[in-house]
Every structure is written in structure tokens, then in C-alpha cells.
């Protein structure tokens, strides 16, 4: 059985169907990205897995346990760093563990070193840059005792260069300290560079529109971004995302034609 199994869950708010019959799995120590346009209910999926919301139908399994509407089973890294401003960096890193009842200060200090934040252990969050705060937020999630980490577009608020650095940094840490990761993003390159598997969501109500196994070997280098195979994959996923977004015949036709990207955008936008 997979580590996380989401089976046919549906969720609607009043009459607004956000998720319908969504099903996917995540294996132990796998890095899975959920790719979808904004407003495709990505955050709702996390709220469901995190137990803030309960699905109207379907079940969510973690190993053999049903975790519908139960909190405390995932560790979480939100879009914003969400560090407590009155806690020092090491105290913030320990927060995830603290909520589950046990603190390992040594491990936290080690991880702060590994994360390249040596010397900032006793600094307050406002003394750190945006990228550094996100690193703290990630190691807080990494050190939490739960077996699966959910990352909700963690780099979307960073500038391009910092984002690239953070992606490389995240990979290097994760390749050393393997954990199960579910990563939500709307950035195709990010998903390709980081994940083992990509799940493309359709428009509302969200369903799995396509699924891709990313073939690139690890450890991955920055140069991957410019390789032909990478760009080919990017195109493939781009088309499938477009198709998922605009299910009209024009988009279907485009998937098979090999027009340049600019053309695709203008036609897809029209339908």
C-alpha cells in the first residue's frame, strides 16, 4: 500500500464544487508535485489532507489509517515563512516538534548548520532575508516527526534568483535526508526539477488530468534546466496543463501540432 492514498475525494462549498473524485497516491520517500493553475483547489487539497476540512466523499489514508478530518498527521510548510516573531530561529525550528511533544535541540542546531544558517541560531526572524526565512520554515517542517511533508507553493513569493537557489538547496537537503514530500506549485520548471512524479490538476472541480513520471536521475544539477530533454518535458507538461485548463477542441488540436509557444498561448486563451 502507498504511504498516502487519496481515494476519490470530493469537496464542495455550498454549490461550488472544488474537488470531484480526486484520487492519487504518494509512495514512501517519494517527491510528488501537484501542478495546477491558480484557483484549481490546490490549497483545498492540503486543507483536506491536513485535516482542517473533511471531504464530503472518499477517504484519505496514511499508511493504513484513515485521516479524514484528523489533524497532526502531516508536517507543513506554507507559502509564507510563518515564523513566530518572538521566537529565535532555533526556537522556531523546534516548534514543529514541540507541537507533537518532543524537542531535540541538538538535531535542530545541526540542521541549522546544514541549512547554511550557522550563526543565526539566536537571531529573530526579522533579522533574516526572505530566502533564509523560507529555509528556516523548511527545516522546521523537515524536523517535525510526521512522516509526510506538505509544501504549499513555498517559493512563489521569492524573486527568480532566490527561488532557483532555494530549489537547488531544497534538493540537496532532501537528497541527503529523504522524506515523503507532497509539493504544490503552479511552476512547471520547478515541478520538473524537483519531483519524481508530477500530478496535473484540471480546472474546478479538480481531478487528476494527467500524471508524469519524471525520468531525470538524481542528484540533479542546475544545468538540467537547459537540457533538450528537460525542455521537451516542459513542453509536454505545458500542453497537458493547457488541455486540462481549457477542454475545448482548439487546445486538443494544439497538443499534437508543433507550433511555437507564443501561438499556443494566444489560441488557448481564446477558447
Amino acid at each position: 500500500m502507498s504511504h498516502l492514498t487519496v481515494s476519490n475525494i470530493s469537496k464542495q462549498f455550498d454549490k461550488n464544487e472544488v474537488i470531484k473524485n480526486l484520487a492519487f497516491t504518494v509512495e514512501k520517500n517519494e517527491f510528488v508535485s501537484i501542478l495546477g493553475p491558480s484557483g484549481s483547489g490546490k490549497s483545498t487539497i492540503f486543507s483536506l489532507i491536513g485535516g482542517i476540512l473533511s471531504p464530503d466523499q472518499g477517504t484519505i489514508h496514511l499508511d493504513h489509517q484513515v485521516i479524514n478530518g484528523k489533524r497532526g498527521f502531516i508536517s507543513y510548510m506554507p507559502q509564507t515563512p510563518s515564523l513566530l516573531p518572538w521566537r529565535t530561529i532555533v526556537e522556531n525550528v523546534l516548534l514543529g516538534q514541540e507541537l507533537q511533544g518532543k524537542k531535540e535541540k541538538e538535531a535542530a542546531l545541526d540542521m541549522i548548520d546544514i541549512a547554511g544558517l550557522t550563526g543565526y541560531e539566536n537571531a529573530y526572524p526579522h533579522e533574516l532575508s526572505g530566502g533564509m526565512k523560507q529555509r528556516v520554515s523548511f527545516i522546521r517542517a523537515l524536523l517535525s516527526p510526521q512522516s509526510i511533508i506538505c509544501l504549499d507553493e513555498p517559493f512563489s513569493a521569492l524573486d527568480e534568483l532566490t527561488r532557483l537557489d532555494m530549489q537547488k538547496w531544497l534538493l540537496s537537503i532532501w537528497e541527503e535526508h529523504r522524506r515523503t514530500i507532497l509539493f504544490v506549485t503552479h511552476n512547471i520548471e520547478e515541478a520538473l526539477f524537483l519531483s519524481d512524479r508530477i500530478i496535473v490538476l484540471s480546472n474546478k472541480p479538480s481531478q487528476v488530468a494527467a500524471e508524469f513520471h519524471v525520468p531525470f536521475s538524481r542528484p540533479r544539477e542546475e544545468s538540467l534546466f537547459l537540457e533538450d530533454e528537460f525542455l521537451e518535458w516542459k513542453r509536454k507538461i505545458y500542453y497537458s496543463l493547457r488541455k486540462a485548463q481549457a477542454p475545448c477542441s482548439a487546445a486538443y488540436g494544439l497538443e499534437h501540432s508543433n507550433r511555437d509557444k507564443g501561438n499556443t498561448v494566444s489560441i488557448a486563451a481564446r477558447c
Binding site: R71, L99, Q100
Partner: protein
């Protein structure tokens, strides 16, 4: 310290100027001392009558500290209760506002009739004056807790208890301290009013005796003492705030 001097010289100069104008006007116009004593006479009386005055001062300090502590406790407990139990908040909050609309001067004699001249009616007066700013400030602080942080805490599996102690309470501290500053100064006023009800000693007693015997200079000594005491309480709270909320002050520069 340097900062205090750098910032404090302006109001101090104004105060000094005020005293000089007061002194000159009082002397030039020949107003009798029982009507308006000059500042020098007031300071003279404060200095000379110190041994008479300071047991009263001490008694008022004790009373206001005790009252403030009780007000803080009740104010904070009320806020926590109202925050954690929304259905109670809806039914009690309006009553809290009403409690502040009853003039203490009217209520005070009633309290004496009900509870006598002991400590209890005095504590009730001070607490009534003190708890409200604390409750309102703390409730506001709890309510303003950042949704972002709350969302993280809930997603990461924080229980309601953890959410309160690890997030909402520390988040409310800056706001709570605004309430504490107001309450700390009110507590002195509350103590003086409660001493008017009947007490053996205290600034309130000293003031009543002074005014009924037309010792206006002593009334002013009492007034200055009350002002100084309020300022002292205020600055103590500010110091505690600086220490407890140091993460915020550093961020605000």
C-alpha cells in the same frame, strides 16, 4: 538613559516654564495662599511635611499595587474566558461596557453600605477601574492574531491549548501592554477614590483633611504625588514591556 534625556528635555522645559509663570502670576496678583499657593510653597510643604506625608504615600502605593494586581488577574481571566468561549462573549461583553458607565463616585458610597470600611470595597473600586482596559486590550490582541500563523499552527497539528499558549497569548502581548499602561495609571486614581470612602491613612485621606482645613498647598502636594506615582507605575510597565516584547521593539526600528 541618554535617550530619555534627549527626548525628555522638551516637556520638562515646558513644565518648568509653566511653574515660572504660575509663580510670577501668583506673587504679582497677590492671591492668598489658601486659594492658590505658589509652586515654591508647595515644594516647601512637600519637603517639610515629608514625614507626615510619606506613611500616606506608602499606604496608597500598597493599596494601588494590590488593586492593580487583582484588576490584572480578573481582567486577564475575563479576556481569556471571553476569547475561548464565544457564546459567553456575546452575552457578557455588553455588560462589561455597562460596568464602565456607572460612575465610581456614585457606586463608592453604596459599596461602603454593603461591605463596610474594610479592604473589600476598596478592592472592588480599584478592580472596577483597572480590569476593563486590560480585558479590552487583551481581547483585541487575541482577535488580531495573524491568520497566516494560525493557519500554519492548525495545519501543523496544534491543539487549541497549544494554539492559545504558543500563538495567541504571545501575539496579544503588545496590545495587552497598552491596556496595562492605562490600568496602571488608573489604579492610583482608583486607590485615592477608594480612600475617600474611609480609611485610616492614604493620599486620599490626606487630601480630604487638607482641603477641609484649607491647606491648599497640601492638596497640591497630594496632586503632585498622585501624578508622580502614576508616572512611576507607567514607566515600570514600559520597562517590563521592553523586556518581554523585545523582539518587536528590535523589529520596529
Amino acid at each position: 538613559m541618554v535617550k530619555i534625556i534627549a527626548k525628555g528635555w522638551r516637556p520638562l522645559t515646558v513644565l518648568l516654564l509653566l511653574f515660572i509663570v504660575w509663580e510670577t502670576v501668583a506673587i504679582k496678583s497677590g492671591v492668598p495662599d489658601w486659594l492658590l499657593p505658589t509652586p515654591t510653597k508647595i515644594f516647601y510643604e512637600g519637603f517639610n511635611g515629608w514625614f507626615n506625608f510619606y506613611p500616606n504615600l506608602l499606604s496608597t502605593i500598597k493599596l494601588s499595587l494590590l488593586g492593580f494586581a487583582l484588576g490584572l488577574l480578573i481582567g486577564l481571566l475575563t479576556a481569556i474566558l471571553l476569547h475561548l468561549l464565544p457564546f459567553i462573549r456575546e452575552s457578557i461583553y455588553p455588560l462589561l461596557i455597562i460596568s464602565q458607565n456607572i460612575p465610581i463616585i456614585v457606586l463608592a458610597p453604596l459599596l461602603v453600605i454593603w461591605f463596610g470600611f474594610g479592604l473589600l470595597p476598596k478592592m472592588i473600586v480599584i478592580t472596577l477601574v483597572c480590569f476593563f482596559p486590560i480585558t479590552v486590550a487583551a481581547l483585541d490582541g487575541f482577535k488580531q492574531t495573524s491568520n497566516e500563523l494560525k493557519h500554519y499552527m492548525i495545519m501543523a497539528g496544534a491543539s487549541n491549548k497549544q494554539l492559545f499558549w504558543k500563538l495567541e497569548l504571545p501575539y496579544a502581548l503588545p496590545s495587552l501592554f497598552s491596556g496595562l499602561k492605562i490600568s496602571a495609571t488608573y489604579s492610583v486614581m482608583g486607590a485615592v477614590i477608594s480612600e475617600w470612602l474611609g480609611a485610616k491613612e492614604g493620599i486620599g485621606v490626606y487630601m480630604t483633611l487638607a482641603s477641609s482645613s484649607f491647606r491648599t498647598d497640601r492638596v497640591f502636594v497630594a496632586i503632585f504625588a498622585i501624578v508622580a506615582l502614576s508616572l512611576l507605575f507607567f514607566s515600570i510597565i514600559v520597562l517590563i514591556e521592553r523586556w518581554l516584547v523585545r523582539w518587536q521593539l528590535k523589529g520596529a526600528k
